[in-house]
């Protein structure tokens, strides 16, 4: 009896697998689900990627990161502080209602609402004026040259629908009831949300009226699978077709498997170590009586002690690019000449340490996350043993990201690991968070406590400068100065890997966004 039952299970399972292999369905797996389907509630990359399947934006990026029209067909800066956007005609939301300038105004205002997580992208806007149904004028309080790149993240909602469903503002943190927009959508994007079970399964169908080319996938099924080995097994056993975060250690095996291909591209995220340069003494070694990190010679010694190429080869299995600056190729203002590392040399490093008055080195604690970046803890372990060779005796404190980032924001770390991606693909985004002096409105992630009034002034003018030539010069100056000051110890740029059935064709994108509207299945 038991045997017969078991046999029946197997038979049925086989049947289930073959029937699921519908040619036009793409089954997609990833570690973590979108946090919400509300377009302005969570500014987090998996959430943005999911929303992008359903919602349109005024402008968007190609897989090569160029800005192109989406819901706006053209745009121009009429004066340094006003932008005119001409909107696409004949676009319909998924429920059939027409898209007009009203919806744009509504969405931009919703994104600026206090409970929105997208405020930083719209907070320079002071006025939104509807000129006609398909033309809108946007005024900013000061010139904002990168407004269009912010708009690649501001999703456009239907005003009528939002009013009808009572979701004219993103859910407030104090709310007691679930907002309708958390599980329901009405966008203009390439896919229509069919069903949404958070953390379990999300199903989309093709939007037949999509305005930017015919979508070739009929059905998109998303399954979050947290456990890395389970994710890989699901791909190997043909239960999913596409995985945009295969674990690095399985890539070689996936490549060698018939029917599966792996794609890679440098990611817009750079991993580096930060050193608190303003503290009076080290928190992790108060007996020292002073802060060695305040001395540039010490920082340079630590830089020279770290062999980034060895980390690339031994820990990242070749899947990283050693970095000399803390932003990646593809970001505006990136300079290949500045992205050269100061040569690795423990000998010079030792001499520098001795010059600075630490011939025997010193003790310090290195704080690291262990679940945030690719192989984060292993990288830190390597850095610790490399630093030990010049006498800097670092103890490793690797913790889950929730604790690591808490201790950073509480200013409890002297020496820490951080990775930085650049949403706007402009250097200003790096400067604003990592370089400007830390204060309530700007410099939130500058835990190195680097503070240079000249650079601060430059950053503020970069934010306003509309003359590209002048602006690029200023950006270059900031990069040069913080490089010379050894503000951070850059390690490497991460690489994105995608693994998929070789029947799937999709352009890989450096922000890890999946353009399923351009995907095909053979």
């Amino acid at each position: 009896m038991v045997k017969r039952k078991a046999f029946m299970f197997l038979f049925v399972a086989l049947f289930a697998l073959t029937s699921a292999a519908n040619a036009k369905t793409l089954r997609w797996g990833f570690a973590s689900d979108a946090l919400t389907m509300d377009p302005h509630s969570q500014n987090e990359s998996p959430t943005i990627n999911m929303l992008r399947q359903v919602y349109g934006t005024l402008v968007k990026r190609t897989a090569g990161l160029k800005i192109i029209p989406d819901l706006a067909t053209s745009w121009e800066a009429a004066t340094p502080t006003t932008w005119i956007f001409n909107l696409r005609k004949g676009v319909k939301f998924h429920d059939g209602s027409a898209f007009t300038a009203e919806d744009v105004k509504f969405s931009l205002e919703r994104a600026a609402h206090p409970s929105s997580d997208y405020k930083p992208y719209v907070n320079t806007i002071t006025g939104i004026k509807i000129i006609n149904k398909y033309k809108i004028k946007i005024t900013t309080k000061a010139p904002d040259p990168i407004l269009p790149s912010y708009f690649t993240y501001v999703f456009i909602m239907d005003k009528q629908w939002s009013e009808k469903q009572g979701v004219t503002a993103p859910a407030n943190f104090k709310a007691n009831e679930e907002s309708y927009a958390v599980r329901n959508t009405n966008g203009t994007g390439p896919f229509i949300l069919v069903s949404r079970e958070p953390d379990l399964r999300t199903v989309f169908k093709r939007n037949p009226d999509y305005y930017d080319g015919r979508v070739k996938i009929d059905k998109l099924v998303y399954t979050p699978i947290k456990e890395a080995s389970t994710r890989v097994a699901a791909l190997l056993s043909n239960e999913i077709d596409f995985l945009n975060d295969p674990p690095v250690q399985d890539l070689a095996r996936l490549k060698a498997t018939r029917g599966i291909k792996v794609m890679s591209t440098p990611q817009i995220r750079t991993i580096f170590l930060g050193m608190d340069q303003s503290a009076k003494t080290l928190r992790s070694n108060p007996d020292l009586g002073k802060n060695p990190l305040a001395d540039k010679r010490v920082r340079e010694a630590m830089y020279r002690a770290i062999d980034a190429v060895a980390i690339q080869k031994k820990i990242m299995r070749g899947l990283s690019v050693p970095a000399g600056m803390i932003t990646a190729p593809g970001v505006h203002g990136y300079d290949k000449n500045l992205d050269q590392r100061i040569p690795y040399s423990p000998k010079v490093a030792k001499r520098l340490l001795a010059d600075a008055g630490y011939p025997n080195g010193f003790k310090i604690r290195l704080d690291c996350p262990n679940d945030r970046y690719i192989n984060d803890e292993a990288i830190c372990q390597a850095a610790v043993s490399m630093l030990a060779r010049i006498g800097v005796r670092a103890s490793l404190n690797a913790q889950p990201k929730s604790i690591h980032f808490k201790s950073l924001s509480n200013s409890e770390s002297d020496f820490y690991m951080l990775g930085w991606g650049v949403a706007t693909l402009d250097s200003e985004y790096v400067f604003r968070y990592l370089v400007h002096t830390r204060s309530p409105k700007i410099g939130a992630w500058n835990h190195a406590n680097y503070s240079n009034s000249e650079i601060d002034a430059l950053i503020l003018s970069i934010q306003k400068e509309v003359d590209n030539k002048k602006r690029d010069k200023m950006i270059h100056k900031v990069w040069k100065t913080i490089g010379d000051d050894i503000t951070y110890l850059p390690l490497h740029h991460q690489v994105i890997n995608w693994a998929m059935s070789d029947k799937v064709n999709i352009p890989i994108q450096a922000l890890n966004e999946t353009y399923f509207y351009q995907a095909t299945i053979d």
Partner: protein, 321 residues
Amino acid sequence: MLKFFAIRIVQGAIVMLVVALVSFTLFRYLGDPVNSMVSEDATIEDRELIRESLGLNDPVIIQYFRFIGNVVKGELGLSFRTRSSVANLLAQRLPATLELSLVSALFALIFGIPMGVYTALKPRALLSKFTLVGSLIGISIPTFLSGLLFIYVFAVILGWLPSQGRGGLVDLGLWKTSLLTFEGWSYIIMPAITLGLFQLTLIMRMVRAEMLEVMRTDFIKFARARGLSNRMIEYRHALKNSLVPVVTVIGLQLGSVVAFAIITESVFNWPGLGQMFIQAISFVDIPVMSAYLMFVGAFFVALNLTVDILYFLIDPRLREQ
């Protein structure tokens, strides 16, 4: 009897309060939920605002009483992570965990008891020795490893069973079950066996030990003297008497299976409570974590109460006291 009940219920309530207090004290060391709730672009000012509006700046004891107050009112709040209702989340996840535990417990019972009896009655048979050695291996392989082995063999190499998830569901209104379709069973079978492997070994070994013990007692000798058949003695007399302690253990084990299926659930991406809890921890999702811990606490309190009452009913000596 009533007094006994009342005392146990008061004790249960105290246990729950302590569970809540301990969990709240622990949450402080898990990290900062606000950091995962806002984008990295958020200013320091914004973060402070949210922390204040969630009441995270209040002393732990005030947060604790606020939580207790809400639970009494029947409000579990919204998840920090998904902003969806925690009560809904629990209701959605509970069927998956209960079904998984039930199937794995049945598996352990159906195989564990006969195997225990057999190894006790025929200790010298080759099959007995083989089973005992096999059970040692079963008990010493950690769950995540046996789970991955199953996935590798049955899903990746043979392609017979799906490697992860929960499919083939039938919606019964409040409860989505995977036990009514063959497809549903194809999803549940591997995680259930993985989860039940340890229980199976435990039950088998307990039944065997108890059986051996009972078979040596006088009343079995007298039964033999009465000329009863072997079958009658073994199953009517011996097995029945050896099952009493086994039932107690099974009851408590079921509790721990429900509460701690965490590893199996994450390996098989089984959408149960354990998986929800793991996700909540990595996000410091305090409302979900506290609701889960309260649920597990309540479950154990109820289970213990049931076991106590069963004792009361089964054992005449307790009633007379």
